[in-house]
Subunit: 577 residues, 2 copies
């Protein structure tokens, strides 16, 4: 019984914070929910546009998913819903199986959310949250920057009122150039005005409000409301001036009502095509979400559990799949607003969901004349803040290997698309790591006179003996560097026929895998062929335990010395007798 409660509380964090919920928390959560709801209405419509979906899909993807995350997630402030990068990945994946504007496209987005949710849940139950660590920070940074550029460029067509498509930067630019003759002037005016206004709100409004004496938090929240103002003003302008007659594309009819119950199609061929993108979306969404959640949790000395986060996000995506949405994750901007506005518990998310449900029940007729150019402007301004090329300079100064991974990720994402870009970045960062550890530092050491210490013979004046070579290995031994050690020992003894003993000093070796064990056996055998004895010294306890399960220690021609100094005195004594 107690155990069942423990398991229930682990998988349902709501049981934990729900019991302690009080009036004060309720008040904080309600205030935060109102602010976030106002911000989310235009953002949800805009990201649906970016994903190539009808605008209501963005609203629907913000309602049930938020509630499910509030029940299963561990972050107190994370706000779940459509985000820019995941919307782009959705457009790229679904665009390969169906044409935008068709019912198949909308249905495939549901399947993508279902697969993504299932994958996240499976990872969560298998406690595989650590897998997110296999994405290196520079690769993520490069990917986010390149995606921001792709997203911004993909929205230019809405600002210009033309058609253009493509999933890579060259495709998008060529397509824009080809259609440039068809620019719609009215759209251009609305789009440029909205973009300019939003840039000013972001960079100029907040300082202006601060100068007028508004507190920092309130000024920040007011600035976040900029998109709502842009939406209101441009919608009114289009309606009053009948700009849609002049060719300004508008959102049009959005169904009025609560999210529908939807069943994602599950044709095997569709699943096969969407499986890899779903995994990619899951992992990227999870990494982004967890890093936001951890940053916010740390500010209040709270903890989040990455494995339970997988379950929270998985449930949210299943919710999106069955209520007309598309893949969702924890968003940076919305979560920060939620946190700054004072959200105390996940109930703030639930209240936001209620706010959005009311909006989709009542407000949708008001967005009929909302120009797509305004939505595009909010996307462009939001994603350009993600673009940060400083990662190139910072990694260049710090490590060329990390720089290579960033540069490749950015170039390949822009040039070949988001999926190839991020996959290549991950593969390259793994290969570079293997390369770095494939040639470990190995120092030939000698005795520092008057001590029992052994130091590198190239850096210190030390004692050596012509018939003894002592090599200190500064890395765990495993298959990638096992052959290197073998070559290195062979090279050292081939050039010097006085050598009778080789001592491998293992103080820095935390692990010896099976390949390295076989290399040690080969080193031992080959040295024996040359009448040279192999010894080990300072082998760590766990490494020694494992070696004792093998025949290596019996075959070893020399001894295993506890301390390197013991090896030195024993071999010196042997030479003198």
């Amino acid at each position: 019984m107690g155990q069942a409660m423990g398991a229930a509380r682990r998988y349902l964090p709501v049981l934990d914070w729900g019991r302690r919920y009080d009036g004060k928390a309720l008040q904080s959560d309600l205030v935060a929910a109102v602010i976030v709801t106002i911000m989310l209405i235009p953002q949800s419509l805009a990201y649906a546009l970016l994903a190539g979906l009808p605008p209501e899909a963005g609203l629907y993807a913000s309602i049930l998913p938020i509630i499910l995350y509030a029940m299963f997630g561990t972050s107190r402030a994370l706000a779940v819903g459509p985000v820019a990068v995941v919307s782009l990945l959705t457009a790229s994946a679904v665009g390969q199986v169906a044409a935008q504007g068709t019912a198949d496209y909308v249905a495939a987005a549901l399947t993508l959310a279902l697969l993504s949710g299932g994958f996240l849940l499976a990872m969560g139950f298998l406690r595989l949250g650590f897998l997110a660590n296999f994405l290196s920070h520079p690769v993520i940074a490069g990917f986010i920057t390149a995606s921001g550029i792709l997203i911004a460029v993909s929205q230019i067509r809405h600002i210009l009122g033309i058609e253009a498509e493509g999933h890579t930067l060259p495709e998008l630019l060529l397509s824009l150039a080809a259609h440039l003759g068809g620019v719609n002037l009215a759209t251009l005016v609305v789009g440029v005005a909205a973009t300019g206004f939003l840039f000013w709100v972001r960079s100029g409004l907040k300082p202006a409000l601060r100068r007028l004496g508004m507190p920092a938090g309130a000024a920040e929240i007011a600035a976040r409301a900029g998109p709502v103002a842009a939406v209101a003003v441009t919608t009114l302008a289009v309606w009053a001036l009948e700009l849609s007659e002049a060719g300004v594309a508008v959102v049009g009819e959005v169904p009025q009502g609560l999210p529908p119950l939807t069943l994602p199609p599950l044709a095997p061929e569709l699943i096969r095509q969407l499986a890899v993108p779903a995994i990619l979306i899951s992992i990227i969404g999870f990494v982004e979400s967890v890093s936001v959640a951890q940053t916010l949790a740390a500010k209040k000395r709270q903890r989040i559990d990455p494995d339970q986060e997988l379950i929270g996000l998985g449930a949210a995506n299943l919710g999106a799949a069955f209520t007309g949405g598309y893949p969702v994750t924890g968003g940076f901007a919305r979560s920060v607003v939620n946190f700054d506005a004072g959200a105390e518990t996940p109930a703030a998310g639930a209240f936001t969901a209620i706010g959005l449900a009311i909006a989709s029940l009542t407000l949708t007729p008001l967005v009929f004349f909302l120009p797509k150019a305004t939505l595009a402007a909010t996307i462009i301004v939001a994603v350009l803040s993600l673009v940060d090329f400083s990662i190139l300079g910072r990694t260049w100064r710090y490590s060329r290997a990390d720089f290579a991974a960033v540069a490749a990720t950015i170039l390949l994402t822009l040039g070949l698309g988001v999926e190839i870009g991020v996959a290549s970045g991950v593969a390259l960062s793994v290969l570079l790591h293997l390369y770095k550890t494939s040639r470990p530092h190995v120092a030939e050491v000698g005795l520092v006179p008057g001590t029992q210490h052994f130091r590198n013979i190239r850096r210190h004046r030390v004692e050596t003996r012509p018939e003894v070579v002592t090599l200190r290995v500064d890395e765990s031994l495993y298959f990638v560097n096992a052959g290197f050690l073998q070559d290195l020992v062979q090279a050292r003894v081939a050039e010097d026929r006085a050598i009778r003993h080789v001592v491998l000093m293992m103080s820095a070796v935390n692990e010896i895998d099976f390949s390295a064990l076989e290399s040690l056996e080969a080193i031992n055998r080959r040295l024996a062929d040359q009448r040279i004895t192999l010894h080990l010294s300072e082998v760590k306890g766990p490494v020694m335990d494992r070696l004792q399960t093998t025949h290596f220690l019996e075959q070893l021609t020399g001894r295993v010395f506890l301390a390197q100094y013991d090896a030195w005195t024993a071999l010196a004594a042997r030479a003198e007798t």
Copy 2:
């Protein structure tokens, strides 16, 4: 001038040993060449059969390639030519682009050799020999064992005189079962007799000859001549008893003459299809060849240069491509025979080539009645010695991760074919390595009373202070474990509100990559949000040099202490004032 000679000698080792060649070396090399030639004639024909090629392709692949390797290779004893695993890989790759028995099939094998040679040469000039280390020993062992089984099973059809095909064990077994009704009795008698004889030669003849007083080396060589006897006897039997009338398949007409000059076709589509198999064949052939060459070189305190080996093997494969052969590499059995027979220099290889050239000029009419069943028997007996399931037991006892890699490689090679098998094995061994380093050992340490040493608080009685946590990190920090450290620090401070200082003891950290740097920045920032100061101690010189190129040390809320004991005394003093 001197530099040019140096470069010439580096890329043409023949200039080095050729100058010192004398009568004694000539005599040893000639004896070895005669023995190896006799062994190679049936072997070359058999491996051509395994590769699905006409028998003469095996002879041709042994002539110019041997001479080119003698000029460019660095091993004194390596014998280059067709080998079992590469022949199987060739059959698998070429079988996907052309049907066996067609001219296209023979031509595609030339292209495969050309691509493989080009790839090996490119790797050699770029000095990428170390890449072979990315294959772990257990993966190679599992792959060789599974390949041996596939090869043996693929030859059963020749013993039974039926048709059967497939690239995986289930395919082969089902195909054999389906054709079992068509077994040819005469073929079965010849095949079973030859197989039984060859097994006896291998296991019974050598001990028998030893008992009769023959030296070990000579008995070994006599046993190696078993296939020649089997070939002679069964060929005579087929001719005398007219068994080919009774349905025994024979080698038939083999063109008489020197290897022809051939031009590998270079259609872009063909190159695209064969590129990946060519890379796989190159790497597997290179790994096998280098390990044989290193084993033999070590016995005489000689060295081989892996990068120059790439050039030697690359040249040999180009030679095969232009003279009617197929991909080649250094073979284990033939090299050991060459070495045991006393070969002193690569000239022994050149003499072997001359012997095989004479054979292909004069002896080919004699093999007209050679039964394919006999060749299949020599293959089966040869490859079953490669099959060694003990690797499963040895890795199981030593390390479950290595066991998983072997088991997956064997199962996938047998079940899905050689290419998927080896690729999965490599991917899995890399993933398992990343997994192992993703959760590094981190010990919370305290002061051993009366000393300046710090030890794990769980294993030793040590002094600690409630406001100070000292964590010793026992692994280099890089993207795979950067997040783990972040979580671990957060978990430790979240549970204990007395903590004011966190000290990371970096004595075992050999590297901090950019992701880990960002994690340290995040740890510093998040601890600061909780009013906890972060300090470092015992940072290694090269790691510190790199940290100094960043702003991290300025942002660090605490200090960097040279020794952990300095950190201890400074923080103790701070608490007491």
